[in-house]
Amino acid sequence: PKRKRKENEVEQEIEETPQEKKLRLAKLYLEQLREEGEWDVDRTLFLSEILVAPDPIEIRLLRGHKLSVTCLCITPDEKHIFSASKDCSIIKWDVGSGKKVHKILGGRKGTEARHVGHTAHILCMAISSDGKYLATGDMNKLIMIWEAATCKHLYKFTGHKDAVSGLAFRRGTHDLYSASHDRSVKVWNVDENAYVETLFGHQDVITALDCLGRERCVTAGGRDRTLRVWKIAEETQLVFHGHEGSIDCVQLINEEHMVSGGDDGCLCVWSVGKKKPVSVVKQAHGVHGNAGLKEPCWVSSVAALHNSDTVASGSHNAMVQLWKCGQGFRGLDPLFTIPVTGFVNSLKFSTSGKFLVAGVGQEHRLGRWWRVKDAKNGLYIIPLKRQNREAETEQ
């Protein structure tokens, strides 16, 4: 990939500060909307009070991966799900029928040169908001770009110095943000197959990354116990402290709030304006271990329904817990649990909130500390029912 700066900023003679640029873009966007006559309705009408626990019969299990599922992503049109596992394969599933549409096989270690696909554990995945590109990152420091519709291999991004652990596309664009175990965050432009820039700041391995529509992303830095929000245009970062153990997963709820889970069992909700978490739930998934050596269960994945107050967290205590955020995100109340055996390595809500997908495996996605023998490696599709049909909004 070529290395070049974004052309927009260079072409204009007038130099703008990032704030001015934001203002200009926002005005443009508003003008466009006014012209079209549409106004995107804020989907905060999703009240989690009305969410109902599904029947265990309705939960579907999609099996096909040989080893633990490590990550997954749902296409924006909610028709397909991509999932990747420790056997280095990527499978595209059809949600309606539950069948495999496409499978990209994983290669053996050492066959990087001739194999089209990954040859090491795939740690993260992201799909662009228009459903065009799929990006996957593995432990061999590579980021592969695929065409989502046909699963054709497009590009390979090299540049990271250690395993790639987080990927996210910025909504509405083809800007890809990647985080890696080499403690750096890199910005790529997929359209032009180009690397844009690198950001530094984390002091330990970065374990997760998430991004919404703004030109900023949030990363969880494992053992340095900080969450960082990167303002990419201004080249600054906001540092948040508050976890006691390593932070393992993070998701943005809306542009101002995010939820994170750590290996101390804590589930924290953060606001961008405060350096400490707005609400904390300790031992969110209970404890495990022998008597006298009880340790909190690691929260291995979190998911948040966009622009609502519903949060889901998964660990290895055989259940996926759904939470409701209180007023102003100040509290976290448990709603209900869904029985799922194994390590819940990845959780994603569908964009409209109709279902929740959990990627489950016998082992934790980052290592082999434990192995849950009676767990099945696969995807659980959990439909979310609502009591009140009127509260649903059309998209």
């Binding site: 990419i232 906001l238 350096k275």
Partner: protein, 347 residues
């Protein structure tokens, strides 16, 4: 006059340009600092406000401003302005007009607010002329600015141009918020490989002899606070004596003897120092009393001081009865020295 026409040309060209940072074609490069919004009615304000400044303390500066005003008024005659009625530099008229204009300036001219963010918001009329003055400063040519500075004096000029410390407001509310906000730092600095896990404090080495923290040496204070050391010294001298009695080898006894000798000499030296200090103090007290009474203080020469000391020594010896002894010894010593210095006689 060439100057006014140049002003006009610049102001019209300024309107066409959108970007602020582009400089207009420099026919006279020092005229470049014209600002955009001043195109509206720059001339009126300058003319009227400049007259106002005549009432300031800097009388010399006002003379220059009057010259400037004359220049600008010639421009105003040509420019199509509604506000100016006549081009006559009548102080009273312009003074009145200034009041009206001043209220306009605070509201309409956004540029003022941009360029002077440090001004207090409770703006009275007294702040107005200052703002206008700084505006004028930016419009004057550099040469004129230097002349102004020379006449006013650098201090006064800086005070007006940059404002005093009182004017600059500190945002109290912003400070409160920043305590809870997350830290914002640069994202471009590479992080060192080794992480700071535990904060380690670097021990600062200071020598109290040369450190400013220790303050000045005052013997009285020192002796008072460290009195206990004298007791320790006495104890140590006794210990050495005891050890000397016990010790069997001759070499060690010699060493201990020397050590004891040393300690005793040091002690005697310290006592002597103390005595001298006391004497000096007494002398100074006497002098102070004399001064208080009204006499002039007198200071002894070194030789006089020595004579006094000798006299005191003799009186003390006499009391003790050792005067004869001392004097005979002294005569012997002197005799030996004199004999050495005498020239030899060859036989």
């Amino acid at each position: 006059m060439p100057r006014p026409s140049v002003c006009l040309a610049l102001s019209t060209s300024e309107k066409k340009q959108t970007a602020q940072k582009h400089k207009p074609s420099p026919e006279s490069p020092h005229e470049v600092t014209f600002k955009k919004s001043k195109i509206k009615s720059p001339v009126t304000k300058r003319a009227s406000n400049v007259e106002e400044n005549g009432s300031d303390d800097e009388g010399d500066a006002s003379e220059m401003e009057k010259n400037f005003a004359l220049l600008t008024q010639k421009v105003s005659l040509q420019a199509p302005q509604d506000e100016i009625s006549g081009g006559v530099s009548d102080e009273d008229v312009t003074g009145e007009r200034h009041q009206a204009v001043c209220s306009n300036t605070s509201g309409s001219d956004e540029d003022e607010n941009v360029s002077k963010p440090a001004r207090g918001h409770g703006v009275g009329d007294e702040l107005c002329p200052k703002d206008d003055f700084t505006k004028d400063l930016s419009e004057m040519s550099f040469e004129k600015v230097l002349q102004l500075q020379n006449k006013m004096g650098t201090k006064a000029y800086k005070k007006i141009a940059y404002g005093t410390m009182k004017n600059r407001q500190t945002g109290e509310t912003v400070k409160q918020l920043s305590k809870h906000r997350p830290q914002e730092i640069s994202a471009k600095k590479t992080v060192p490989f080794l992480r700071k896990v535990v904060p380690v404090k670097k021990t600062i080495l200071r020598d109290p002899r040369f450190d400013d923290l220790s303050g000045e040496f005052k013997p009285e204070v020192f002796n008072q606070t460290y009195k206990f050391i004298n007791e320790i010294r006495q104890r140590e001298a006794e210990m050495v004596k005891k050890k000397m009695k016990k010790v069997k080898s001759n070499i060690k006894r010699e060493e201990l003897k020397y050590l004891l000798q040393r300690m005793e000499n040091q002690e005697r030296g310290r006592q002597r120092q103390e005595q001298y200090r006391q004497k000096d103090l007494q002398f100074k007290r006497k002098q102070r009393e004399l001064v208080q009474q009204g006499h002039r203080p007198f200071y002894l020469k070194k030789s006089d001081k020595k004579k006094l000391e000798l006299a005191e020594k003799y009186s003390q010896l006499k009391k003790g009865g050792k005067l004869e002894n001392f004097l005979s010894k002294k005569r012997k010593r002197n005799a030996i020295k004199d004999r050495r210095r005498m020239p030899h006689q060859k036989k």
